[in-house]
Structures are given as structure tokens and as C-alpha cells.
Amino acid sequence: MTGSLPTLTAMAENRQDHAPATGQRRSTVRSLLRLWPYARAVRGRLAISATAASLAMLSTLAVPVVLGRIVDGPLAERDLDALWPLVGLLLLLGLIEAALFYTRRVVLSRPLGRLEAAMRGDLYAKLQRLPVSFHDRWGSGQMISRATTDMNAMRLFLAFPLVFLVVNSVTFLAGTALMFTQDWRLALIVLAPAVPLFLLTRRFESGYSVSSRLAQDQNGDLATVVEESVLGIRILKAFGRHRSMAEHFREQSHLLRRTELRKAHLLANLWAVIVGLPEIALGCALAVGAYLVAHDELSAGTLVAFLSTALALRWPVESLGWLLAYANEASTAVDRFFEVMDEPEPENPGVATTLGAPDGIRLTGVRFRYPDAPEGTPDLLTGIDLHIRRGETMALVGATGSGKTTLTALLPRLYETTAGSITLDGTDIRELPREKLRELVAVAFEEPTLFSATVRENVLMGAPGADERQLASALATAQAGFVDKLPAGADTEVGEQGLSLSGGQRQRLALARAVVGDPPFLVLDDPLSALDVHTEALVERALREVLGSTTALVVAHRPSTVLLADRVAVLADGRIEAVGTHQELLRDCPHYRELMSGEAALLPEGPFVPNGGHAR
């Protein structure tokens, strides 16, 4: 038991199958430029911040000058009266500098907070609107890491490195110009490393951004493992498998560690060169300069001035290392952000607001395959023709995995049909705005996913604005009388995913959620599977009243659920094999008989026939 779970280790690779091709990576700058639509709102503030930083730099440079004046002037001449104005100036400069330091940060803090919130809000909004098939493909941890770690990287970049990138470049250019005026020969020597440095940073950048991207992806994978391990905690506990999961997590985090070390390695190399080359050049300049001074080709004062300028440029050059690292991380974060934002949202051309004649639900030649199904596999639904008359309840029966749930997901357009059409009262569902369509079609999913909110909120989700009476009647229909016995009645929190309720309680709330707004079209996916016989009968009786006025498609496994329906459709091999009443089908459709009684399956077995005798 202490051993690892070897088979689980392969999951790492599986999670990565969506990893983007790094080959298509944009350059750092181009990626960062994509931030512009968001940065626009703060461009003024950014400019102020950069200006303040530059001015602060200037005032920092001015202070030694004033100090020099004080020493050379009043102090050398013991002239205390002349001292005061200069000390006053010094004080003033100091205060201005402090104010600039303050300003540089203060102007950005709130706007950057807003920017971060805006980006994250957009990401969230986008994700909510992307089709379910997108969510099928991506590990949720990838999205979490985009919303947190990546967002942080971008905000940090805008807060400091961007400003410094500007300020330091300006300083560097100004310093360089100054050095050239002081002595062009020495300046050339000092600047000689610029070319190799430039080439090197470019190489660094490409290498680093690959690693940075990888680290971000691995961070996301790690978040996915954490999430899965917590959501699946019951399974892990039930089998005592937390050690194997921890082992799996450890491997994943080792991968991340390796990438982070690779990043550090690249950064260390860059830093070494960025710090070393200019220093060596400076050493050479010192030698040459001293030689020139000794041969009176250069004044000692100029050399001192030159060298102090060169030393002052140390920081702007050195800082390039981490500024580049920040920029790269931000740029890959931007890539990851826009990877989601660029995902096409399902277009929504529908404008129809009213339905046509009361025709019910009509599926014509509907074909479907999952977008991620491998090439060459046949379609899952291969031409469904089905008509559910207005006010009729149709049961959908089929073997496990025959595609019932898939079919029901097509009605509210959670997935898009590959071919064929579905009409509601004569109106093609693609002509309806999604919002409207989903208002018309209410669904109870086979897994009753509730949210950590109160019972009331969970149920009324189906019909915002519904009143207390409607809530009560929906709960009554679903036989959810247990709600009154909960600690706070309908205001009881149901816990994450509703897991502080029993299975049947959850299912009844999900049912209430579907029926609450009296929707004209209702899709119920195996809505009674977790109910006992008595409760089931009660729910059925209540449901029948509701179903009298709605057009409904009810997925059913059990004869008892089928009895809810007026007619039954049998789904097999991606088609509707037969439609008819329960009795007709029992008589005429062997497949249906098998599905309902299991008889055919039992025949060869012989000895064990639990319900054979009860068949009518």
C-alpha cells in the first residue's frame, strides 16, 4: 500500500494533451502588446508613474551636485550664511524625491487592481460562455492557474518591471550619451559588450519563455491534481489510496521543480554574463584610461567622471536580467490568457423571439459526434428522427451508453448537432437566442449538480424572479418535503456540490430546479434513479400534473419511470429504433422488452430469474 500507484503516473501525460504547441509562440513584445486593450485604461497612470520614476532618478543625481556645492562653497569658505539656502535646497530635493517615490507607486496601485480584476472578470465571463466541449477538454486547474498565478505575473509586471524597463533604458541612453561626450574611445570600449549581450538576451528570451510557459502549464496541472484529489476524496478514502495520489502529486511537483530549476539555470547564466561582460569592459576601460592619463591624453578629472558614470550605469544594465525574466513570464501568462480569450464563442445569430405553431419538439435527421472523437469512429447519433407533440411526454429508453444523455444535451444546445435540425414549436433552436432557448427548455441532469448555496437559491436558479409560491409548488412536485426539516428550512446551505444532502434529496432538488418556472419544454435525464419506490410513485403522481401542460423528454431506465410518458422512443445504434406506447413496444419491439425486463439477456442463463415471473 505504501508503493506508488504506477498506473496513475501516466496521468501526467494525459493532462498535457491539450498543451499548446510552443512553436507558435509569439515574440515576447508582441505577446505583451496584446495587453494594450486592458492597459489602455491605465496608460495615463503608467506614464505618470514612469515620469515620477525618471524624475526621482534625476533628483537622485542632483543631490550629489548640491552636496558638492555645499562642500566646495560655503564650507570651504566657512561662509555659514551661504550654507542655509543650499541646505534648504538639499532638503527640498529630498522631500521632492520622497514625494516622487510615493507618487510612482500610489498612482498605480488602484488602477492596477482594477486592471487585474477586469482581466480576471473577463476570463471568468468568457469561460462561462465557452461551450461545454471546451470544458471537457481542459483540466480545471489550468483555468485556476490562469486566473490566479498568471494574473499575478501580469499585474506585477505592469507594477514594477515595465516602469523600470522604461526608466532604466532612458538612464542607460542618457548615461551612454554622457560617456561619449566625456571620451568616445573609452565609451566604445565600455559599450563593446552591448552587441554580444543583445544577441545573448535574445537567445535567453526564447529559451526562458519556453521554460516559463512550461512552468505555468505544470502549475496548472498541479492545481488539477489538487482539485481532483479533493473532489474525489471519498473514493481515495474508500480505497485508502491517498498515498498513491500523494505519490502522483509528488511526481507532478517534481516536474515543476525541474522546470523552475531550469529557469533558474537560464537566469543564472544570463546574470553572470550581464554582470560580468560590462565589468570586464570597464576593467579594460580603466587600464586604457589610466594609460591615456599617464600619457596626458586625458585629464584625470575626466577619467574619474567617466568611470563614475560607467559605474552608475551598472544597475540599469544589471537589472535587465530580472526585468527580462519578469517580462517573459508576463508574456507567457498573456499567451495563456489569450489562448482562452481567443477561443471562439459559439456564435449566436438567433433572433427569433416567438415560437411558431404548437408543434412540440421535432428532431429531424439529427447526427452528432463528440468534437474530440477520434477520426474514423462512426457518429454517435446517426440520424435521429423524433417528434414529441405539444403537451406530450416522451420517454427515451436505451441501453447504457447508447447516447441518451448526449441527445438530451442537444436540446438546450450544450452541444451542437453535427447535422440535422431540432425545432421547438416549428422554430429551429439555432434561430433562438441561447438565453431564450434555455429559458424555454429546462433540464434535470442525471448527476444532480448543486452549488454551495441555499436550497432556495439552488432551486430558484431555474427561474430567477420566481416567488415563494412557485418555490413551494416546485418543491412539492419533487416531493422535497425534507426541506422543511433541514436546520434552516429552504435557507439551509447544501454544501459544496450539495454533498451534505442524501443522494435522493439532491436529485429531488435538481428536479425541483427544472420544474420551478413551469417551462414549456422539459428534459429530465433519469430523474428518479435515486428514489425509493414509494417516493418515486409520489413524485410521478405530482410530475404527471406538471407534465400535462409541458412537452417533455424523459430518459428512463425503469418501467416505472416509463409510465410517466405517453409514448416511448427506443434509442439504439444512434437511431430511434421504435416509437410507441409502452404496451405496443413491449409487444412489438424485442429490444425494448429486453431493456425493460432483461428477459432476453436472461434467457441463456437459466437458473437465476429474479423478475421473470413477475412480467405481465
Partner: protein
């Protein structure tokens, strides 16, 4: 500026202590979350110490390296001065020796410093990553150890945020903050020494300035602590919302929750970024204030120096040098701000993490694990003794009851929904410990069994079938890691899942995607079932394990169960009474009580609830 001074002169081990210290000054640490998980005093500090402890040697090496590196770097200007003062005059005398020596020394430093820098980055990255790896692992393992009642209220989102965004905060501190702190500290030390050497009176007067600066830093820390804490909590709530929406994307879309969710998310989102912004504001204030203080001090020192010079108590040249160096004493203020920022944020994060780690599971591993006696057959005897149970949030769900299930018996548990069937099952699987009384397996209290031993004894297929992303084979193999492919396939065959799995695009190697979304609900149940079969436990609990199957599929499973359950103790919860036919005994539950208990035949022939239930069920059949 005491913050900068403490750690480095106290050595790495104490550095840890110093860093954790603000966590528990004056203000008692508040509960880690709304969920009032208390952070024991000193826990963050102890955590940090235990994280840094194993790396003491490497941290020391890194410090030495950076010390020498800074010396090499700082000697640059010094060497330039020497070159000017000595080298050039000597060269004029046609003695190039001194200049060559100085330039050589300069070049040596120019090479040494980057090499050391390189080494430092490499060493510290290793230390950082090892610490993070360690901490991540601890959070993960601890979260796995914690019991279900904890997870039910803490929520997955919060644990994710501990393991991701809180770790991020710490990573930031480790990767940048510490290096910053070290260089700041070193440069302050160098310059302080220089100043005192230049002129001790002015030097001491200058060093006095560290006092107000330390006060300002301290006040920043106390003021911002609350902000940073809020920022961590807000980030967690944001992640909670985020994950919940993504996990429920179908209902979210089907019930048009997008706009309402946008609005709700905006609230937590703004709280989170607002707290961040607030932290930045505090930081700006700190920087502005400390700069002001530093610059005032400089002016003061200049005045004092001027006075001394006019009194002829100080040489002019010394004053010049002095004030220039004095400026550099205060240069790191800005850098220190960066450090303080990541430091405060990491301290808040560490506090949250420490709170989580300090939380002990209510369903604890036994201190002295007992062994199960050698079993006679495949099954084991289960006995509930005066067992009662209440969930943390609610009333008593199960009033005290006794129940003895002899080894090898198959017991069906039926009853209305919400009667407490799953609760009994979860108690037997030790997801929770009973509020009162005990549950014994072959006479051994479940609480005395270590997890591996317990899971050899009892395994449960839960009502919610959950698959992990990964292949079908991997998911089945969770039942018994190390099972061969043949065994996995055999388990699938036994319950009739083989055909559908083989028909998947990659057969047993098909990735089922998150939560098994790539296969249908019934298929998920079959996989979950196969998993339990593979585990081969003495006591098997099946909670509604066939509810989503079609009738033929269910019958196939039942046929399989006859052989599989032979000799084993089994507790089967089912609403479809067909299951009952394979049971030796039926328990009927109502409102937490066992109201009927007997063999199926007895009960069906009687006139109790079960008889009525059975009749109704029979009528519902075709």
C-alpha cells in the same frame, strides 16, 4: 531597519524565526478563514522553521557566496580610486606595475562576482524549490489525511488556493525577497562600517537614523498585516467561486446563470484585487515616509558636519566622502519595500497554510494500530454497538442502534430516501467516526485500524461514482495498485463492463477525462464497480452502485455479484429491490432507525413496510 539586521546576523535558523515573528505580535492571529479554523499561536513560525531546517547548510553556503560576491562588487569603486591615486602616478614614473596590479585585481573581481552570482542563484533556486516542493507535498498529504467533515466545510477551492496561490506568495518571497534582503543587509553593513570608520561621531549619528526607519517599517508591518490577510482570504473565496462554476458548467449554462455569476464573481474578484491594491498603497506610504525620514536625516547630518567643519573638528574631505556614502546607506529603502511586500504577503499565506496543516483530522489514524485477526473465510463480522451519529451541522441522523452482521452475510439495506442508509455505510467505511458507541470489524474497533489494514477489510462503492482523469485501466486499478492488466480486465469482465470498454477508442487505455466525463453515467458506475471488485475486500459496501444501469446491465451485475460476494460480507444499498433477491437478510430503515430486519422471504410474506415496498416494486415491473 531592524528587519534587515536580524536575520543575517542570527544565521539561517534564526532567520526563520525572525521572519515568522510578525505573525504573532500583539494581535492574536485571527481564524484562518470564515470557517474558523484556528491558527495555533506559533504554528506559522514552527512551520517555517521546519521548512528551512533541513537546508541550513546550503543556506549558509549561499550566504557566504553572496557575501563574497558583494565584497567583489563593492571593491570596484575602491579599485578605481586606487588606480587613480597610485596607478597613474606610478605609470607617469614609467612604472606600470601598480596599474597592472590594480587592473588585474579589477578584472579578477569582474570575473569573480558574476561567477559567484551564478552560484548563488543556482544554490538558492535549489533551496527555494526544495522548500516549495516540501510544502506543497505537506499541504497535499495533509489535505488527504483530513476527514470528510472537514472537506465538506472547507471546500475544494480553499484547499486549491492553499496549494496554489498561497504557495505562489511564498515562492515570490523566496525567489526574490530573500536575495533582496541579503544584499540590502550587506550593503547596509558595509556602509555603516565605512561611515563609522570615516568619522565615528557622524557615523554614529547616521546609524541612529536606522531607528526611525525601523519604526516606520514596523508600523507598516502592523498596518498592512490585516490587509494582506484579507488579500489571502479574498483570493481563496475567489478561487472557490471560480472552481465551483467550472465544475458545474452544464447547470450554469442550462440555467442561464452566466450574468448572475458574473455579478457574484465581480464581488469576490474586486475584494481580492482591492485588497492587493490596498497592500500596494500601504507600501507606497511606507516608501514615501521612509524616504522622507532618510532625506531629513541626511540634511541634518550635513548641518552637523558643517558645524563640525566650521569648528575645525572635521576635515572637509572627510565630510565630502561621508555624505556621499551616507546617501548610499539609504539607497536600499526602495529595495527593502519590495522585500517587505513579498514578505508580508508570504507571512499571511504561511499563516493560512499553517492553519490548515495544524488542523488534525477528526477521523484520526490510531496511535497504536491493531491487527485484524486471521479471517476464517473471505468475510468478516461487523458489529455496530450502541452506535449513534450526527453530522456536524445537523441533528442526530442515527439514534443509537445495535447491529450484528455475521461474516459472509449479504445484507440489503432499503428505505426511503434520506433515511440514513448511506450514513450507516459511511460509518462502516469509517468516513466518519460515530458520535457515540463503536463499530467493530471482527471484534476490532475501526478506530484502532490503520488505513491499509482497514481498506483490506472494508471497501465502499459510493453513491456518487467519481472517476479521475486518466485511463479506464488506471481508474479500475485504484482498487488495487499493482494489479496486472489481466486482473484489471478480469474485474471488468466479471461485472460485464468489458465489452463497452473494449469498444472505446483506445480500449482500456482511453482517457476518461475529468470526472470520467467521456463515458456515460452507467458506464462510470460499472468502472467504479470493477474497481471495488479488484480491491477484493472482506467487507464490500455498495451504495446504489447500479442505479444508473439499464435493466439488462443491472441483472448482469447481479449475476456477477452472486459469485463475487460468495463468502464475503456485503452491505448493499439499493432502491431497486431486485438486489434484495441475492441478499441473505434485509434491513429496512426509516428516519435513521432500523425498523425491520429479517430474511427477504420472511419480510415479503409479512405485512410490514418491506412487504408493501416489495409489492409496489413488483407492480412497477413489466
Amino acid at each position: 531597519m531592524t528587519t534587515t539586521v536580524e536575520p543575517a546576523n542570527a544565521g539561517p535558523a534564526k532567520a526563520g524565526r525572525a521572519k515568522a515573528e510578525p505573525v504573532e505580535e500583539e494581535l492574536p492571529a485571527p481564524p484562518a478563514d470564515e470557517e474558523d479554523i484556528p491558527v495555533p499561536p506559533g504554528a506559522p513560525r514552527a512551520l517555517l522553521r521546519s521548512l528551512l531546517g533541513p537546508h541550513r547548510a546550503r543556506i549558509a553556503v549561499a550566504m557566504v557566496v553572496i557575501l563574497v560576491q558583494q565584497a567583489a562588487l563593492q571593491s570596484g569603486p575602491l579599485l578605481v580610486a586606487v588606480a587613480m591615486d597610485r596607478g597613474i602616478p606610478a605609470l607617469r614614473e614609467h612604472d606600470s606595475g601598480p596599474l597592472i596590479a590594480v587592473v588585474a585585481a579589477y578584472l579578477f573581481c569582474a570575473v569573480l562576482s558574476p561567477v559567484l552570482q551564478w552560484a548563488f542563484i543556482k544554490i538558492s533556486a535549489r533551496v527555494n524549490q526544495d522548500i516549495l516542493l516540501d510544502l506543497r507535498g505537506r499541504i497535499f498529504r495533509h489535505a488527504q489525511r483530513l476527514s470528510l467533515d472537514f472537506h465538506e466545510r472547507y471546500t475544494s477551492g480553499r484547499i486549491i488556493s492553499r496549494a496554489t496561490s498561497d504557495i505562489d506568495a511564498l515562492r515570490e518571497l523566496l525567489s526574490e525577497g530573500l536575495q533582496e534582503l541579503l544584499t540590502v543587509f550587506l550593503s547596509v553593513c558595509y556602509i555603516s562600517v565605512l561611515l563609522v570608520v570615516l568619522d565615528w561621531r557622524l557615523g554614529l549619528a547616521s546609524l541612529l537614523s536606522l531607528l526611525p526607519l525601523a519604526l516606520i517599517a514596523h508600523s507598516f508591518r502592523t498596518r498592512s498585516r490585516r490587509v494582506y490577510r484579507r488579500s489571502r482570504t479574498a483570493a481563496a473565496s475567489m478561487i472557490v467561486r471560480f472552481t465551483e462554476t467550472m465544475n458545474g458548467i452544464r447547470p450554469v449554462q442550462a440555467f442561464r446563470r452566466e450574468k448572475a455569476n458574473d455579478a457574484a464573481f465581480a464581488v469576490v474578484n474586486q475584494q481580492s484585487s482591492g485588497a492587493n491594491a490596498e497592500g500596494f498603497l500601504e507600501l507606497a506610504r511606507y516608501v514615501g515616509l521612509s524616504r522622507t525620514a532618510a532625506n531629513l536625516w541626511i540634511t541634518g547630518i550635513v548641518l552637523l558636519g558643517a558645524y563640525l567643519v566650521t569648528e575645525d573638528a572635521l576635515e572637509l574631505g572627510v565630510l565630502t566622502a561621508f555624505v556621499l556614502y551616507l546617501r548610499r546607506l539609504f539607497d536600499p529603502v526602495d529595495q527593502l519595500a519590495m522585500f517587505l511586500n513579498s514578505y508580508q504577503s508570504a507571512a499571511a499565506a504561511l499563516e493560512k497554510i499553517a492553519g490548515l496543516l495544524a488542523h488534525e483530522p477528526t477521523v484520526a489514524e490510531p496511535a497504536e494500530p491493531a491487527e485484524l485477526p486471521q479471517a476464517a473465510g473471505k468475510g468478516r463480522e461487523v458489529s455496530f454497538e450502541r452506535t449513534s451519529f450526527a453530522y456536524r451541522t445537523g441533528k442526530q441522523v442515527l439514534p443509537p442502534f445495535d447491529l450484528l452482521i455475521p461474516a459472509g452475510q449479504t445484507v440489503a439495506v432499503v428505505g426511503a430516501t434520506g433515511a440514513g442508509k448511506s450514513t450507516v455505510a459511511k460509518l462502516l467505511a469509517r468516513f466518519y467516526d460515530p458520535t457515540d458507541g463503536r463499530i467493530r470489524l471482527d471484534g476490532v474497533d475501526l478506530r484502532d485500524l490503520a488505513t491499509p489494514e482497514l481498506r483490506r477489510g472494508v471497501v465502499m462503492v459510493t453513491q456518487e461514482s467519481f472517476l479521475f482523469s486518466g485511463t479506464v485501466a488506471e481508474n479500475i486499478a485504484i482498487g488495487r495498485p499493482g494489479a496486472t492488466r489481466e486482473e484489471v480486465e478480469q474485474a471488468a469482465r466479471d461485472i460485464g463492463a468489458y465489452e463497452f470498454i473494449a469498444a472505446l477508442p483506445d480500449g482500456f487505455d482511453t482517457d476518461v477525462r475529468k470526472r470520467g466525463g467521456r463515458i456515460s453515467a452507467g458506464q462510470r458506475q460499472l468502472v467504479a464497480f470493477a474497481r471495488a471488485l479488484l480491491a477484493d475486500p472482506a467487507v464490500l459496501i455498495l451504495d446504489e452502485a447500479t442505479s444508473s444501469l439499464d435493466v439488462p446491465g443491472e441483472q448482469a451485475v447481479q449475476r456477477a455479484m452472486r459469485t463475487v460476494l460468495a463468502g464475503r460480507t456485503a452491505v448493499i444499498i439499493a432502491h431497486r429491490l431486485s438486489t434484495v433477491e441475492i441478499a441473505d437478510r434485509v434491513l429496512v430503515m426509516d428516519q435513521g432507525r432500523i425498523v425491520e430486519d429479517g430474511s427477504p422471504q420472511e419480510l415479503i410474506e409479512g405485512s410490514g413496510r418491506f412487504a408493501a415496498l416489495h409489492r409496489a416494486w413488483r407492480d412497477s415491473l413489466v
